[in-house]
Amino acid sequence: MEGITHIIKGCIAKDHKYQKIVYEQYRGFAFKMAFRYIYGYDKATDVVNDSFVKVFNHFDSFRLNAPEDNEKVLMGWLKKIVINTAIDQLRRDQMLPEIGGIPESAFEAADNHYNADKIILYNDLISIVKQLPPHYRIVFNLYVIDGYSHAEIADIMDTTIGTSKSHLSRARVLLQKEIRKMEEKSYAGSR
């Protein structure tokens, strides 16, 4: 793979060849993020696509840093855009709770992997997060996984810090309940 700085320069020049390289390289990373926020697989794919369009159309505002930092900075920028696009999508859907289950095909098969059990567990845990009501899901993802502060969340969600904390607390309670259920199922199955 060509050096990331060279690729970024190509993207700044709006060269589709380099844009495609970036897309192929980081679409997994972007989808992994989007899928935590967006319940449906197809909608998550749309969010990823929209995010890349935004990134490529605004690449001229990207500031080149030291070569060793460029990839981190690019990933940080992409992450931010994906999250914002996902939240915008949920807003467009009026934050309504989604219906229907998450098909197993939404996750990669973990056959023959040396820690396949763990991967299945992680996939299940993310499914639980995805089943949280949209407000709780957003706050939990932003705060616990993506490292935003309550002040930032309040700003993004156009709400108060207190509301953000309250949503996080309720999200944790729901998650604990669901994880306990999952443990009980697992325990019953093993007997």
Binding site: K14, H16, R27, N49, N65, L125, I179
Partner: protein
């Protein structure tokens, strides 16, 4: 298995890191369709916008500073070469009449046959009007310019030798005295007794020579008016008004993508027709950009992780502005004037919001901060403006003023030196006479 009750957050962080969603087919074709053409841009659009904005402001400044000034000072008098109400003009007419009365054809023919430098006449008039209220006059027939050599001398001799009609020099009263045409004979002129006023011979004769001879009598008959003193355009006293305008703000460079505005009331005291002192209360919304190096981290470092640096920021603030400006009217007329405005503004900052572009350990991240604590800043900007006022029939005025505000001290949490360039328009209520 890890106990989810004890450490849910850690568990879910790990899950988010290691879970494996199935990736579908590449959607590159869809994405490529939504992208702008792959042609490198020759210049950033913001650079272009910035250039357009600066050019527009310069053109506005040039237009307002240039054209009315020229109109006021360099255009000819509207009524032609000679102002008919002018006292000198009337005396020139009297001189002509005097020549006619003495049946001195020499004089008329000399006047008619002499090439004239007509354009010098209004200059004499303007100077005499502006500098002195009382215009000096000598007997109109005393001339030494050589144009009327013999008959004028004879007439002079007649005057000085004791002729009853010309026994004393011809005097006029001050400029405010009505000039009645039917009394304009040599005898009546001689009856006027204000010995300290007299015309210069050359001035009167120049004017007389500039007049067409055949219209002199008609003009003389029509001339019954009073010569009023020149009106001052503006009077002393308080005035007030409302202003509103738009502006571009920034630290070192202007943010031309977002427009700020100000709106409020102004009031002032006019000391004379040139100088005023003006203040006001304006609500001001500023939108600005700044590089991180201009942002003072002192007040916000506690709210940011250690080692985080601000690369740049995009902010806005709401504040109340109290300007104090001296206004000097450099060009003044009945209907319009141009003024210079110089002063300083103090601010009461009521709200500030900044979006920081930060970097920590190589990761770029945006952080938002909103600050609602009020803070006052005395004389935080120096104000420079050049304005144009158009007087309305009711004595009030419309104003437009391009201005520049240069920072004298930093404002806000980051002590940013925000400069502004803008233009405001206003409606001013002046004291009634």
């Amino acid at each position: 298995m890890q106990d989810p009750d004890n450490n849910i957050d850690d568990l879910l962080r790990k899950a988010a890191e290691h879970y494996r969603p199935a990736l579908g087919e590449s959607d590159w074709d869809k994405i490529a369709a939504g992208l702008s053409p792959g042609i490198p841009q020759p210049a950033r659009s913001s650079d272009f916008k910035r250039k357009i904005t600066y050019s527009t402001i310069l053109v506005i400044l040039f237009l307002f500073a240039g054209s009315p000034y020229r109109v006021t000072f360099f255009s000819p008098p509207k009524n032609g070469i000679i102002n008919k109400d002018n006292y000198l003009y009337q005396h020139a007419v009297a001189a002509k009449k005097l020549q006619s009365d003495t049946k001195n054809n020499f004089a008329d023919s000399a006047i008619r046959n002499t090439p004239q430098q007509i354009n010098t006449v209004p200059v004499f008039i303007a100077k005499n009007n502006e500098k002195e209220n009382r215009i000096k006059a000598t007997p109109v027939m005393y001339s030494s310019d050589g144009l009327l050599p013999k008959r004028i001398e004879q007439l002079n001799n007649l005057i000085t030798s004791g002729n009853t009609q010309f026994s004393s020099p011809v005097y006029t009263d001050s400029v405010t005295k009505p000039f009645v045409n039917e009394s304009l004979s040599t005898t009546k002129l001689a009856d006027s007794k204000t010995p300290d006023t007299f015309f210069s011979n050359d001035t009167v004769f120049n004017i007389a020579k500039a007049l067409p001879t055949d219209t002199l009598e008609k003009k003389l008959e029509k001339n019954t008016g009073t010569i009023a003193p020149k009106k001052k355009v503006l009077q002393k006293g308080f005035y007030m008004g409302a202003v509103a305008g738009i502006e571009f703000d920034g630290v070192k460079r202007l943010d031309v993508d977002r427009v700020g505005y100000k709106i409020g009331i102004v009031g002032g005291y006019q000391f004379n027709h040139r100088i005023s002192l003006e203040t006001g209360l304006l609500y001001n919304k500023k939108n600005y950009n700044a590089d991180g190096k201009y942002f003072n981290m002192e007040k916000v470092s506690g709210a940011m992780p250690a080692g985080m640096q601000v690369l740049s920021l995009k902010g806005n603030c709401s504040e109340y502005e109290m300007p104090v400006n001296f206004i000097y009217r450099i060009a003044n007329s009945k209907t319009k004037n141009i003024y210079l405005s110089v002063g300083a503004s103090s601010y009461l900052l009521s709200k500030e919001s900044n979006l920081y572009n930060t970097i920590l350990d190589g990761n770029q991240k945006e952080m938002a901060g909103t600050y609602q604590k009020s803070a006052g800043y005395f004389a935080a900007t120096a104000n420079l403006g050049i304005g144009y006022e158009s007087k309305l029939n009711n004595g009030n005025a419309l104003r437009i003023e391009p201005y520049l505000q240069l920072p004298l001290k930093g404002i806000g949490v980051g002590k940013l030196n925000v400069m502004s360039v803008g233009v405001h328009a206003g409606y001013l209520l002046f004291p009634k006479k």
